[in-house]
Amino acid sequence: MIALLRRDLMLAFRAGGGFGLGLAFFLIVTVLVPFSVGPQSDLLATIAPGVLWLGALLACLLSLDRLLALDFEDGTLDLLATAPLPLEAALSVKALSHWLTTGLPLVLAAPLLGVMLNLAPSGYLWLVASLGLGTPALSAIGAFGAALTVGIKRGGLLMSLLVLPLYVPTLIFGAETARRGAMGLDATTPLILLAGITFGTIALMPFASAAVLRMTLR
Protein backbone atom coordinates (compact mmCIF):
# COMPACT_ATOMS: atom_id res chain seq x y z
CA MET A 1 0.00 0.00 0.00
CA ILE A 2 2.79 2.36 0.92
CA ALA A 3 4.59 1.50 -2.30
CA LEU A 4 1.46 2.31 -4.25
CA LEU A 5 1.06 5.59 -2.40
CA ARG A 6 4.68 6.52 -3.07
CA ARG A 7 4.31 5.64 -6.74
CA ASP A 8 1.17 7.75 -7.11
CA LEU A 9 2.68 10.69 -5.30
CA MET A 10 5.86 10.48 -7.34
CA LEU A 11 3.92 10.36 -10.60
CA ALA A 12 1.95 13.40 -9.51
CA PHE A 13 4.97 15.47 -8.46
CA ARG A 14 7.21 14.71 -11.43
CA ALA A 15 6.93 16.72 -14.62
CA GLY A 16 3.60 16.29 -16.42
CA GLY A 17 1.98 14.84 -13.35
CA GLY A 18 -0.41 17.70 -13.05
CA PHE A 19 0.47 18.60 -9.49
CA GLY A 20 -0.45 22.19 -8.84
CA LEU A 21 -2.94 22.41 -11.67
CA GLY A 22 -5.81 22.10 -9.23
CA LEU A 23 -4.21 24.76 -7.09
CA ALA A 24 -3.78 27.08 -10.07
CA PHE A 25 -7.39 26.51 -11.03
CA PHE A 26 -8.50 27.36 -7.51
CA LEU A 27 -6.47 30.58 -7.66
CA ILE A 28 -7.90 31.60 -11.03
CA VAL A 29 -11.50 30.94 -10.02
CA THR A 30 -11.02 33.05 -6.93
CA VAL A 31 -9.45 35.85 -8.94
CA LEU A 32 -12.32 35.79 -11.43
CA VAL A 33 -14.98 36.17 -8.75
CA PRO A 34 -14.37 39.89 -8.05
CA PHE A 35 -14.46 40.50 -11.81
CA SER A 36 -17.86 38.88 -12.09
CA VAL A 37 -19.57 40.30 -8.99
CA GLY A 38 -17.70 43.58 -8.54
CA PRO A 39 -14.97 44.67 -6.14
CA GLN A 40 -17.12 45.90 -3.19
CA SER A 41 -15.33 44.54 -0.18
CA ASP A 42 -18.41 43.93 1.98
CA LEU A 43 -20.05 41.89 -0.78
CA LEU A 44 -16.87 39.88 -1.24
CA ALA A 45 -16.64 39.29 2.51
CA THR A 46 -20.20 37.92 2.50
CA ILE A 47 -19.66 35.46 -0.31
CA ALA A 48 -16.02 34.57 0.43
CA PRO A 49 -16.64 31.31 2.37
CA GLY A 50 -19.01 29.99 -0.28
CA VAL A 51 -16.77 31.00 -3.15
CA LEU A 52 -13.73 29.38 -1.58
CA TRP A 53 -15.65 26.19 -0.92
CA LEU A 54 -17.06 26.09 -4.44
CA GLY A 55 -13.63 26.79 -5.92
CA ALA A 56 -12.04 24.01 -3.89
CA LEU A 57 -14.82 21.63 -4.89
CA LEU A 58 -14.41 22.39 -8.59
CA ALA A 59 -10.64 22.08 -8.36
CA CYS A 60 -11.08 18.64 -6.80
CA LEU A 61 -13.57 17.68 -9.47
CA LEU A 62 -11.37 18.72 -12.37
CA SER A 63 -8.41 16.70 -11.16
CA LEU A 64 -10.49 13.52 -10.77
CA ASP A 65 -10.02 12.27 -14.31
CA ARG A 66 -6.32 11.85 -13.54
CA LEU A 67 -7.14 9.63 -10.59
CA LEU A 68 -7.73 6.45 -12.57
CA ALA A 69 -7.77 7.22 -16.30
CA LEU A 70 -4.01 7.04 -16.90
CA ASP A 71 -3.70 3.82 -14.91
CA PHE A 72 -6.61 2.39 -16.85
CA GLU A 73 -4.99 3.20 -20.19
CA ASP A 74 -1.61 1.63 -19.46
CA GLY A 75 -3.04 -1.42 -17.74
CA THR A 76 -1.92 -0.67 -14.20
CA LEU A 77 -5.48 -1.02 -12.98
CA ASP A 78 -5.71 -4.57 -14.35
CA LEU A 79 -2.57 -5.44 -12.40
CA LEU A 80 -3.96 -3.81 -9.29
CA ALA A 81 -7.19 -5.72 -9.67
CA THR A 82 -5.36 -9.04 -9.81
CA ALA A 83 -2.83 -8.11 -7.11
CA PRO A 84 -3.11 -9.64 -3.62
CA LEU A 85 -3.92 -6.17 -2.27
CA PRO A 86 -7.73 -5.78 -2.14
CA LEU A 87 -9.00 -3.36 -4.75
CA GLU A 88 -10.82 -1.49 -1.98
CA ALA A 89 -7.47 -0.76 -0.31
CA ALA A 90 -5.88 0.23 -3.61
CA LEU A 91 -8.70 2.70 -4.25
CA SER A 92 -8.46 4.10 -0.74
CA VAL A 93 -4.78 4.74 -1.39
CA LYS A 94 -5.61 6.36 -4.71
CA ALA A 95 -8.16 8.62 -3.03
CA LEU A 96 -5.59 9.45 -0.36
CA SER A 97 -2.95 10.36 -2.90
CA HIS A 98 -5.51 12.47 -4.75
CA TRP A 99 -6.25 14.27 -1.51
CA LEU A 100 -2.56 14.77 -0.70
CA THR A 101 -1.83 16.21 -4.15
CA THR A 102 -5.04 18.23 -4.62
CA GLY A 103 -7.05 18.63 -1.44
CA LEU A 104 -4.28 19.40 1.01
CA PRO A 105 -2.68 22.20 -1.11
CA LEU A 106 -6.15 23.73 -1.47
CA VAL A 107 -6.62 23.72 2.29
CA LEU A 108 -3.27 25.42 2.77
CA ALA A 109 -3.88 27.99 0.03
CA ALA A 110 -7.41 28.86 1.12
CA PRO A 111 -6.47 31.38 3.87
CA LEU A 112 -4.34 33.34 1.38
CA LEU A 113 -7.21 33.54 -1.04
CA GLY A 114 -9.43 34.41 1.89
CA VAL A 115 -7.35 37.54 2.39
CA MET A 116 -7.92 38.47 -1.25
CA LEU A 117 -11.67 38.03 -0.83
CA ASN A 118 -11.71 40.08 2.37
CA LEU A 119 -12.82 37.17 4.56
CA ALA A 120 -13.74 38.17 8.13
CA PRO A 121 -10.92 37.51 10.64
CA SER A 122 -13.00 35.05 12.66
CA GLY A 123 -13.53 32.91 9.58
CA TYR A 124 -10.02 31.66 8.83
CA LEU A 125 -9.89 28.94 11.45
CA TRP A 126 -13.31 27.62 10.49
CA LEU A 127 -12.51 27.83 6.79
CA VAL A 128 -9.34 25.78 7.15
CA ALA A 129 -11.02 23.35 9.54
CA SER A 130 -13.99 22.81 7.25
CA LEU A 131 -11.86 22.42 4.14
CA GLY A 132 -9.42 20.14 5.95
CA LEU A 133 -12.25 17.95 7.14
CA GLY A 134 -14.34 18.16 3.99
CA THR A 135 -11.91 17.70 1.11
CA PRO A 136 -11.11 14.04 1.99
CA ALA A 137 -14.82 13.32 1.44
CA LEU A 138 -14.57 15.03 -1.96
CA SER A 139 -11.67 12.74 -2.88
CA ALA A 140 -13.42 9.59 -1.63
CA ILE A 141 -16.64 10.40 -3.48
CA GLY A 142 -14.64 11.49 -6.50
CA ALA A 143 -12.84 8.16 -6.63
CA PHE A 144 -16.26 6.52 -6.96
CA GLY A 145 -17.14 8.84 -9.83
CA ALA A 146 -13.79 8.19 -11.50
CA ALA A 147 -14.25 4.42 -11.14
CA LEU A 148 -17.75 4.69 -12.55
CA THR A 149 -16.69 6.48 -15.72
CA VAL A 150 -13.17 5.15 -16.27
CA GLY A 151 -14.26 2.76 -19.01
CA ILE A 152 -16.12 5.44 -20.94
CA LYS A 153 -14.33 7.38 -23.63
CA ARG A 154 -14.49 11.13 -23.03
CA GLY A 155 -16.28 10.49 -19.76
CA GLY A 156 -15.10 13.71 -18.12
CA LEU A 157 -18.29 15.69 -18.52
CA LEU A 158 -20.40 12.70 -17.57
CA MET A 159 -18.30 12.28 -14.45
CA SER A 160 -19.05 15.87 -13.45
CA LEU A 161 -22.75 15.21 -13.91
CA LEU A 162 -22.55 12.10 -11.74
CA VAL A 163 -20.24 13.43 -9.04
CA LEU A 164 -21.63 16.92 -8.46
CA PRO A 165 -25.00 15.81 -7.04
CA LEU A 166 -23.09 13.49 -4.70
CA TYR A 167 -21.09 16.49 -3.49
CA VAL A 168 -24.20 18.37 -2.33
CA PRO A 169 -24.26 17.31 1.36
CA THR A 170 -20.51 17.86 1.76
CA LEU A 171 -20.74 21.30 0.18
CA ILE A 172 -23.74 22.30 2.28
CA PHE A 173 -22.15 21.40 5.60
CA GLY A 174 -18.67 22.61 4.64
CA ALA A 175 -19.78 25.98 3.31
CA GLU A 176 -22.21 26.37 6.21
CA THR A 177 -19.35 25.84 8.67
CA ALA A 178 -17.19 28.42 6.92
CA ARG A 179 -20.07 30.88 6.60
CA ARG A 180 -21.11 30.64 10.23
CA GLY A 181 -17.49 30.93 11.28
CA ALA A 182 -17.03 34.06 9.20
CA MET A 183 -20.16 35.60 10.70
CA GLY A 184 -18.85 34.88 14.18
CA LEU A 185 -21.55 32.30 14.95
CA ASP A 186 -20.99 28.94 16.53
CA ALA A 187 -20.13 26.53 13.73
CA THR A 188 -19.54 23.29 15.60
CA THR A 189 -22.83 21.66 14.54
CA PRO A 190 -22.23 21.77 10.78
CA LEU A 191 -18.58 20.91 11.39
CA ILE A 192 -19.54 17.76 13.27
CA LEU A 193 -22.04 16.80 10.56
CA LEU A 194 -19.34 17.43 7.97
CA ALA A 195 -16.97 15.18 9.89
CA GLY A 196 -19.68 12.51 9.95
CA ILE A 197 -20.02 12.67 6.16
CA THR A 198 -16.26 12.57 5.69
CA PHE A 199 -15.65 9.57 7.90
CA GLY A 200 -18.69 7.80 6.49
CA THR A 201 -17.56 8.29 2.91
CA ILE A 202 -13.94 7.34 3.66
CA ALA A 203 -15.16 4.14 5.29
CA LEU A 204 -17.81 3.13 2.76
CA MET A 205 -17.10 4.68 -0.62
CA PRO A 206 -14.04 2.51 -1.41
CA PHE A 207 -16.31 -0.54 -1.40
CA ALA A 208 -18.64 1.06 -3.93
CA SER A 209 -15.69 2.30 -6.00
CA ALA A 210 -14.05 -1.12 -6.03
CA ALA A 211 -17.35 -2.77 -6.96
CA VAL A 212 -17.89 -0.55 -10.00
CA LEU A 213 -14.24 -0.81 -11.01
CA ARG A 214 -14.47 -4.61 -11.02
CA MET A 215 -17.56 -4.35 -13.20
CA THR A 216 -15.72 -2.13 -15.65
CA LEU A 217 -12.59 -4.26 -15.75
CA ARG A 218 -14.44 -7.56 -16.06
Partner: protein, 244 residues
Protein backbone atom coordinates in the same frame (compact mmCIF):
# COMPACT_ATOMS: atom_id res chain seq x y z
CA UNK B 1 -45.61 -20.61 -8.74
CA UNK B 2 -43.51 -17.76 -7.55
CA UNK B 3 -42.96 -14.15 -8.42
CA UNK B 4 -39.53 -14.93 -9.80
CA UNK B 5 -41.05 -16.83 -12.73
CA UNK B 6 -41.70 -13.47 -14.29
CA UNK B 7 -37.98 -12.86 -14.41
CA UNK B 8 -38.21 -14.92 -17.57
CA UNK B 9 -38.66 -12.34 -20.35
CA UNK B 10 -41.19 -14.46 -22.24
CA UNK B 11 -43.32 -14.97 -19.16
CA UNK B 12 -42.96 -11.31 -18.29
CA UNK B 13 -44.03 -10.18 -21.74
CA UNK B 14 -47.00 -12.55 -21.63
CA UNK B 15 -48.20 -11.29 -18.28
CA UNK B 16 -47.48 -7.71 -19.21
CA UNK B 17 -49.51 -8.05 -22.42
CA UNK B 18 -52.43 -9.53 -20.46
CA UNK B 19 -52.32 -6.93 -17.71
CA UNK B 20 -51.57 -3.81 -19.74
CA UNK B 21 -55.06 -3.11 -21.17
CA UNK B 22 -56.47 -3.06 -17.65
CA UNK B 23 -53.67 -0.87 -16.30
CA UNK B 24 -53.96 1.61 -19.15
CA UNK B 25 -57.73 1.60 -18.85
CA UNK B 26 -57.60 2.04 -15.09
CA UNK B 27 -55.06 4.85 -15.42
CA UNK B 28 -57.22 6.63 -18.01
CA UNK B 29 -60.37 6.21 -15.97
CA UNK B 30 -58.83 7.34 -12.68
CA UNK B 31 -57.08 10.31 -14.28
CA UNK B 32 -60.22 11.36 -16.13
CA UNK B 33 -62.41 11.08 -13.04
CA UNK B 34 -59.86 12.54 -10.64
CA UNK B 35 -58.80 15.47 -12.79
CA UNK B 36 -62.27 16.35 -14.12
CA UNK B 37 -63.76 16.09 -10.65
CA UNK B 38 -60.89 18.06 -9.23
CA UNK B 39 -60.89 20.79 -11.85
CA UNK B 40 -64.62 21.32 -12.35
CA UNK B 41 -66.54 19.85 -9.44
CA UNK B 42 -64.63 21.11 -6.40
CA UNK B 43 -65.06 24.57 -4.89
CA UNK B 44 -62.29 27.15 -4.91
CA UNK B 45 -60.21 27.44 -1.80
CA UNK B 46 -61.21 30.50 0.19
CA UNK B 47 -57.66 31.84 0.30
CA UNK B 48 -55.90 30.27 -2.69
CA UNK B 49 -58.81 30.65 -5.10
CA UNK B 50 -58.76 28.36 -8.09
CA UNK B 51 -54.98 27.92 -7.96
CA UNK B 52 -55.56 25.17 -5.40
CA UNK B 53 -56.61 22.91 -8.26
CA UNK B 54 -53.06 22.40 -9.44
CA UNK B 55 -52.73 20.07 -6.45
CA UNK B 56 -54.32 17.31 -8.55
CA UNK B 57 -51.30 17.34 -10.84
CA UNK B 58 -48.58 18.49 -8.48
CA UNK B 59 -48.97 16.11 -5.55
CA UNK B 60 -49.45 12.88 -7.57
CA UNK B 61 -46.51 13.76 -9.84
CA UNK B 62 -44.26 14.48 -6.87
CA UNK B 63 -45.38 11.25 -5.22
CA UNK B 64 -44.57 9.22 -8.31
CA UNK B 65 -41.26 11.01 -8.85
CA UNK B 66 -40.04 9.67 -5.52
CA UNK B 67 -41.71 6.28 -5.89
CA UNK B 68 -40.17 5.84 -9.33
CA UNK B 69 -36.69 6.26 -7.85
CA UNK B 70 -37.64 3.82 -5.10
CA UNK B 71 -38.84 1.31 -7.67
CA UNK B 72 -35.54 1.75 -9.57
CA UNK B 73 -33.69 1.11 -6.31
CA UNK B 74 -35.57 -2.15 -5.72
CA UNK B 75 -35.13 -3.23 -9.34
CA UNK B 76 -31.40 -2.42 -9.17
CA UNK B 77 -31.03 -4.50 -6.01
CA UNK B 78 -32.83 -7.42 -7.66
CA UNK B 79 -30.52 -7.12 -10.66
CA UNK B 80 -27.38 -6.99 -8.49
CA UNK B 81 -28.45 -9.91 -6.31
CA UNK B 82 -30.34 -12.22 -8.66
CA UNK B 83 -29.14 -11.07 -12.11
CA UNK B 84 -32.59 -10.96 -13.73
CA UNK B 85 -32.30 -8.94 -16.91
CA UNK B 86 -35.95 -7.91 -16.85
CA UNK B 87 -35.31 -6.17 -13.55
CA UNK B 88 -32.39 -4.15 -14.92
CA UNK B 89 -34.43 -3.18 -17.97
CA UNK B 90 -37.39 -2.20 -15.81
CA UNK B 91 -35.12 0.16 -13.85
CA UNK B 92 -33.86 1.62 -17.11
CA UNK B 93 -37.41 1.99 -18.39
CA UNK B 94 -38.59 3.72 -15.23
CA UNK B 95 -35.95 6.46 -15.20
CA UNK B 96 -37.32 8.68 -18.02
CA UNK B 97 -40.83 8.36 -16.58
CA UNK B 98 -39.49 9.33 -13.18
CA UNK B 99 -37.64 12.37 -14.51
CA UNK B 100 -40.81 13.43 -16.33
CA UNK B 101 -42.76 13.23 -13.08
CA UNK B 102 -40.06 15.30 -11.36
CA UNK B 103 -40.26 17.95 -14.06
CA UNK B 104 -44.07 18.04 -13.87
CA UNK B 105 -43.87 18.49 -10.10
CA UNK B 106 -41.29 21.28 -10.43
CA UNK B 107 -43.16 23.13 -13.18
CA UNK B 108 -46.62 22.88 -11.62
CA UNK B 109 -45.06 23.98 -8.36
CA UNK B 110 -43.55 27.01 -10.04
CA UNK B 111 -46.85 27.90 -11.72
CA UNK B 112 -48.61 27.68 -8.37
CA UNK B 113 -45.84 29.45 -6.51
CA UNK B 114 -45.88 32.54 -8.72
CA UNK B 115 -49.31 33.84 -7.62
CA UNK B 116 -49.18 32.31 -4.13
CA UNK B 117 -45.64 32.93 -2.91
CA UNK B 118 -44.94 35.73 -5.35
CA UNK B 119 -42.02 33.88 -6.83
CA UNK B 120 -41.44 31.10 -9.36
CA UNK B 121 -38.66 29.57 -7.38
CA UNK B 122 -37.40 29.69 -3.82
CA UNK B 123 -34.49 27.81 -2.29
CA UNK B 124 -36.82 25.94 -0.06
CA UNK B 125 -35.73 22.48 1.20
CA UNK B 126 -38.45 20.61 -0.66
CA UNK B 127 -37.88 22.44 -3.92
CA UNK B 128 -34.14 22.05 -3.64
CA UNK B 129 -34.43 18.35 -2.84
CA UNK B 130 -36.51 17.86 -5.94
CA UNK B 131 -33.99 19.71 -8.04
CA UNK B 132 -31.28 17.41 -6.68
CA UNK B 133 -33.47 14.39 -7.41
CA UNK B 134 -33.79 15.70 -10.96
CA UNK B 135 -29.98 15.85 -11.23
CA UNK B 136 -29.71 12.28 -9.95
CA UNK B 137 -32.17 11.11 -12.60
CA UNK B 138 -30.19 13.00 -15.24
CA UNK B 139 -26.92 11.35 -14.21
CA UNK B 140 -28.54 7.92 -14.07
CA UNK B 141 -29.98 8.22 -17.57
CA UNK B 142 -26.75 9.68 -18.95
CA UNK B 143 -24.76 6.76 -17.54
CA UNK B 144 -27.11 4.25 -19.19
CA UNK B 145 -26.57 6.04 -22.49
CA UNK B 146 -22.81 6.25 -22.15
CA UNK B 147 -21.83 2.65 -21.42
CA UNK B 148 -21.81 0.44 -24.48
CA UNK B 149 -21.92 -3.06 -23.03
CA UNK B 150 -25.51 -3.59 -21.78
CA UNK B 151 -24.61 -5.78 -18.80
CA UNK B 152 -21.86 -3.43 -17.62
CA UNK B 153 -24.26 -0.52 -18.06
CA UNK B 154 -26.85 -2.33 -15.94
CA UNK B 155 -24.25 -3.05 -13.24
CA UNK B 156 -22.85 0.48 -13.10
CA UNK B 157 -26.23 2.19 -13.12
CA UNK B 158 -27.48 -0.17 -10.42
CA UNK B 159 -24.60 0.76 -8.12
CA UNK B 160 -25.09 4.43 -8.99
CA UNK B 161 -28.75 4.07 -8.04
CA UNK B 162 -27.83 2.57 -4.66
CA UNK B 163 -25.15 5.14 -3.87
CA UNK B 164 -27.34 7.91 -5.26
CA UNK B 165 -30.22 6.89 -2.99
CA UNK B 166 -28.03 7.21 0.07
CA UNK B 167 -26.79 10.60 -1.03
CA UNK B 168 -30.27 11.74 -2.05
CA UNK B 169 -31.50 11.03 1.46
CA UNK B 170 -28.43 12.75 2.92
CA UNK B 171 -29.03 15.77 0.71
CA UNK B 172 -32.66 15.85 1.75
CA UNK B 173 -31.68 16.32 5.39
CA UNK B 174 -28.71 18.52 4.55
CA UNK B 175 -30.88 21.05 2.71
CA UNK B 176 -33.36 21.03 5.59
CA UNK B 177 -30.48 22.04 7.82
CA UNK B 178 -29.30 24.59 5.28
CA UNK B 179 -32.44 26.64 4.77
CA UNK B 180 -35.83 27.06 6.35
CA UNK B 181 -38.86 26.11 4.33
CA UNK B 182 -41.54 28.03 2.52
CA UNK B 183 -43.34 24.91 1.29
CA UNK B 184 -46.34 23.77 3.30
CA UNK B 185 -46.36 20.42 5.05
CA UNK B 186 -47.45 17.25 3.35
CA UNK B 187 -51.07 17.03 2.26
CA UNK B 188 -51.44 13.33 2.98
CA UNK B 189 -49.26 12.41 5.95
CA UNK B 190 -49.15 8.62 5.88
CA UNK B 191 -47.36 8.33 9.20
CA UNK B 192 -50.15 9.86 11.23
CA UNK B 193 -53.01 8.68 9.03
CA UNK B 194 -54.60 12.09 9.23
CA UNK B 195 -54.88 14.60 6.46
CA UNK B 196 -54.31 18.27 6.16
CA UNK B 197 -56.65 18.86 3.23
CA UNK B 198 -60.41 18.93 3.44
CA UNK B 199 -62.41 15.91 2.20
CA UNK B 200 -63.75 17.96 -0.70
CA UNK B 201 -60.24 18.16 -2.14
CA UNK B 202 -59.00 14.86 -0.78
CA UNK B 203 -61.12 12.34 -2.70
CA UNK B 204 -60.38 13.65 -6.21
CA UNK B 205 -56.73 13.95 -5.12
CA UNK B 206 -56.70 10.33 -3.99
CA UNK B 207 -58.20 9.21 -7.29
CA UNK B 208 -55.66 11.16 -9.33
CA UNK B 209 -52.84 9.74 -7.18
CA UNK B 210 -54.08 6.24 -8.00
CA UNK B 211 -54.34 7.33 -11.63
CA UNK B 212 -50.75 8.58 -11.69
CA UNK B 213 -49.60 5.35 -10.05
CA UNK B 214 -51.38 3.25 -12.66
CA UNK B 215 -50.09 5.49 -15.44
CA UNK B 216 -46.55 4.99 -14.16
CA UNK B 217 -47.07 1.22 -14.00
CA UNK B 218 -48.48 1.16 -17.53
CA UNK B 219 -45.64 3.24 -18.94
CA UNK B 220 -43.00 1.14 -17.20
CA UNK B 221 -44.55 -2.13 -18.38
CA UNK B 222 -44.76 -0.78 -21.91
CA UNK B 223 -41.22 0.59 -21.92
CA UNK B 224 -39.77 -2.55 -20.34
CA UNK B 225 -41.42 -4.59 -23.09
CA UNK B 226 -39.86 -2.28 -25.67
CA UNK B 227 -36.43 -2.69 -24.08
CA UNK B 228 -36.74 -6.47 -24.01
CA UNK B 229 -37.76 -6.58 -27.67
CA UNK B 230 -34.97 -4.16 -28.57
CA UNK B 231 -32.41 -6.36 -26.92
CA UNK B 232 -33.87 -9.45 -28.60
CA UNK B 233 -33.71 -7.73 -31.98
CA UNK B 234 -30.07 -6.78 -31.37
CA UNK B 235 -29.23 -10.37 -30.46
CA UNK B 236 -30.93 -11.65 -33.62
CA UNK B 237 -29.07 -9.10 -35.75
CA UNK B 238 -25.75 -10.05 -34.20
CA UNK B 239 -26.49 -13.72 -34.79
CA UNK B 240 -27.43 -13.22 -38.45
CA UNK B 241 -24.30 -11.13 -39.01
CA UNK B 242 -22.17 -13.88 -37.59
CA UNK B 243 -23.97 -16.41 -39.80
CA UNK B 244 -23.42 -14.37 -42.96
Amino acid sequence: MSLWEYANPVKFLGLSARVQPFVWGGAGLCLAVGLLWGFFATPDDYRQGSTVKIIYLHVPAALMAINAWFMMLVASLIWLIRRHHVSALAAKAAAPVGILMTVIALITGAIWGQPMWGTWWAWDPRLTSFLILFLFYLGYIALWEAVEDPDTAADLTAVLCLVGSVFAVLSRYAVKFWNQGLHQGTSVPLATGGRTVSDVFFYPLLISMIGFGLLFLALVLYRTGTEIRLRRARALLARSERGA
